[in-house]
Symmetry: D2
């Protein structure tokens, strides 16, 4: 297929590369053009503008946040203005439910399809085409782009005909991850104050009840207080928890754990920890325990 | 070794059987003697009293709660009164940190050793000698009973010279499990209100970020609202969260997640759900969301 | 002084009347013009547009929410576009800190002054010129409009040179009121479950430690479960708590009580209680207690 | 009436003095006998033992905590053992609901009456006979001791025939006070970070919506960060919140505000603030906000 790809960050570069590998034609655009070169060397065409990336049947975006996605999609010479009628915009960024709804409406009005396809997986999984794709949108649109999902991921989950539902599922995943982090922080503060070694404790947890990568990865970071450099900064953690809470508020769903996490992130930021890894909220349980 | 074993519930029966299998001599006592017969047919000796179970070098207890352990250990003709000086009491029950400290002191005064060895694992794991043993106590005492731990479990973790620390680690495990349950409840309420199928959602979670048994087991129960019969009743869930909070208070450690969980369990009990599985606290997130 | 007054709701009508009574000239505008007639009969001039209300030295607004204030102020033919340079906009509505900041900047750019003057007091206090005015803005601007504050209120508190700070103080007042309501709800649930009569209990509280009007007013409503008609609807309660939390997030201040209140209001709304008085969140403490 | 009075602390000394003033005969007992002298100079008889204080029709206790009350009442040669059948024990200490129930049963078994009569008011109010008495017990017993309540307080509230209910009401009062403190702490952190002067802010609150002594007293302490010497130590604050939570748990009532307060007090204690005034929990809202 003829695809435009917009957003060549740590995730996007891997995804676009795998689209090339699978035999698709890719016109790549990035705000800072340096990264486009890497992809061109693997066979992509350089798009100098968003509009140039919108000349195929499909354009996929993988951008940092709502602002970036909104500007690229709804701004002058953006995707809605540039994509031909009948074209499909696959949005893989982690964005708010509210924006997902607005984009859905804007594309529909322009006779285009909008598909949400956020992913689970880190940059290494993106590079290895091992992402999990959470897809939502009109069935026909999803069918037509299914080969692209196969090219970038190991499995695709279709969750709804409403694109925003995929964003909600993505946000909920980070929400649960944040609860894992907080629970480890509290449990470690508790046993550490009783003299149990945090690393030995994490070893017990991950050898017994909680042998999932999330527990191993974050348990180790937390036990070692290894929060720099950030794998995922606390400011981004707050952003995702806020997005989850906003989506929940639109749906009138209270999330007490989300409220607690939001307060933790705000506390960390207010005390200068915004650039630390988001698992650094666990230092607060320790500090509150007088450790 | 010559061992007394007190408490032949779902867990104890498997543990005692594996001690026999490993070649140890077991004098078995249970409050209701019917269960002793099963074990006698496998080679155990029936003890008619607690005191009779205390004639060897070691006595192991696996009982329901603080009250039972306190009575058996400190009551008239109990373990402290009956075990010979130099003997060791291995306590595998999930008990409070406060009681663990009192038992440690009482045994020390009587010239006996007290070892805490709570376990992670369900009755099937107990039967298969696949438990994880969390052990704490004086190094010499732990060394002497290490073969017994090998007989009942797949791995032993020594966490401290203070027996109560093992109880704390055990309680913290159930505390984290309860946070897993609550996080699933809130996340499912959120996506369900947006029209996502709960079972499909749990499939996504357990296929991607959270592929641990805890998520699969409880995710399935929660998505199906399958809370009867209880695998672990809400009343016991409240008890364990309370024990964790009490231990945390003794150590002056705030546990905000523990507080939230306590309120959830109280709400469930106040509304008639005490006999449901503890994962039924997730119905509260759904109810609060108007589902 | 020559004043325009925009927004003749339950509060605004009393405030504008008192400005007339104090001898000022008032050009009154309201979206639905019927209410203007009442004021005209007391000596006001009817303004047919926002712009017509902006021909004096000062224009005061008392509107329902951010949207209304934003439209009237920043919209085409709005206050910023219509008020002469050197004029002052007194904003008495309860609005977000974020909007207060934007209005401050917009007026400054237009060579106008922006003063925030939200008030504490109910419609009866507005009618009786007994409001408390929380004022913030440039000192010169505050000095020039001080006689207007004297005309509508019993006392003026100047809190900052930054207008938004007055909005923050106003929001914090409703935040504290909401905590009063929640605390009464939990305490009443507790004693009621022990058989103590709620009304007798409220009598004790207000006769002893808590003899403030807030406790008497809300204690009575809560004890009688008298939530209709709403004095202040739960939807508005949620709005104000949300504004407080948003302001707090901008300032990086966690408000755990605010988080708890937000969850209570969401729960009430999700269960159909949005139009009840905001003190109906107390039914949730009772429901959770199985009452 | 012939009364024994046990416990001559800051509160008890005033209460006993007022019983003398009203013409009653008082046999006074205190653990450290020095304080008895003061009362003897005003006409009391010195009791050398608890038993000696139990020779009249009524004995009233005003002690520090559960342990003291339990020992004096149920210990060897305690009140239950010493008071004649038909006698009445008036317990004015702030104790747990659980202990109140045990004392009720013990006195009933001994043919004695047990009346709970905790009070609201500080030592000055006790000295001035201006206490508020929260009374509960069998109607006949309450009638017979009503003159004693009149002698020590300005008003008596009868809340139940079950003595423990009066203790619950008392505990709930301190619970609400603690929520007032926390709400002030969060609100002050919020406005202070926006540059509003805390003292000016408290002046606004207490001049407008919250003109109750609790807000004035604690608002001033909090704004000035004046936590030493403690009027009521944080350790005692934690004790009372814990008692409220325990009573609520017995009645199966969740108290989310109580949970939040408990975590605040634990945090303060873990960071060395146990001897500060309980209003010092408000430093935590400020600290979390990075102030």
């Amino acid at each position: 297929m003829h695809i435009g790809f917009i957003g060549l960050g740590n995730m996007g570069i891997g995804m676009a590369t795998n689209l090339l590998t699978a035999g698709h034609t890719v016109a790549a655009y990035n705000r800072s053009p340096a990264k486009v070169g890497t992809l061109v060397r693997q066979g992509a065409v350089a798009a100098r503008t968003v509009a140039e990336a919108c000349r195929g049947e499909v354009v996929q975006t993988m951008l940092a946040d709502d602002d970036a996605v909104e500007q690229v999609t709804l701004g002058p010479d953006g995707i809605v203005a540039s994509l031909p009628p009948g074209g499909t915009h696959i949005s893989s960024s982690t964005i708010s439910v509210a924006l997902a709804r607005r984009l859905t409406a804007a594309h529909a009005e322009a006779g285009q399809s909008y598909v949400a396809a956020p992913v689970f997986g880190r940059p290494e999984a993106a590079a290895a085409a091992r992402l999990f794709v959470i897809a939502a949108g009109a069935p026909a649109a999803l069918d037509s782009v299914a080969p692209l999902f196969d090219a970038i991921g190991q499995r695709t989950f279709v969750v709804s005909e409403q694109p925003y539902a995929a964003n909600l599922v993505k946000l909920s995943g980070n929400f649960i991850l944040a609860t894992v982090i907080e629970s480890l922080g509290e449990a470690i503060a508790l046993v550490e104050k009783a003299g149990v070694d945090p690393l030995a404790y994490v070893d017990i947890l991950t050898s017994t009840l909680f042998n999932a990568p999330a527990y191993a990865t974050y348990g180790d970071l937390i036990a070692r207080k290894n929060f720099e450099p950030a794998g995922f900064a606390a400011t981004l953690g707050l952003k995702d928890v806020r997005l989850a809470l906003q989506a929940a508020e639109e749906l009138t769903v209270p999330l007490p754990l989300g409220s607690l996490l939001r307060d933790r992130f705000l506390t960390l930021l207010a005390n200068g920890g915004g650039q630390l890894d988001w698992s650094a909220i666990t230092t607060l349980a320790g500090r509150d325990a007088g450790l």
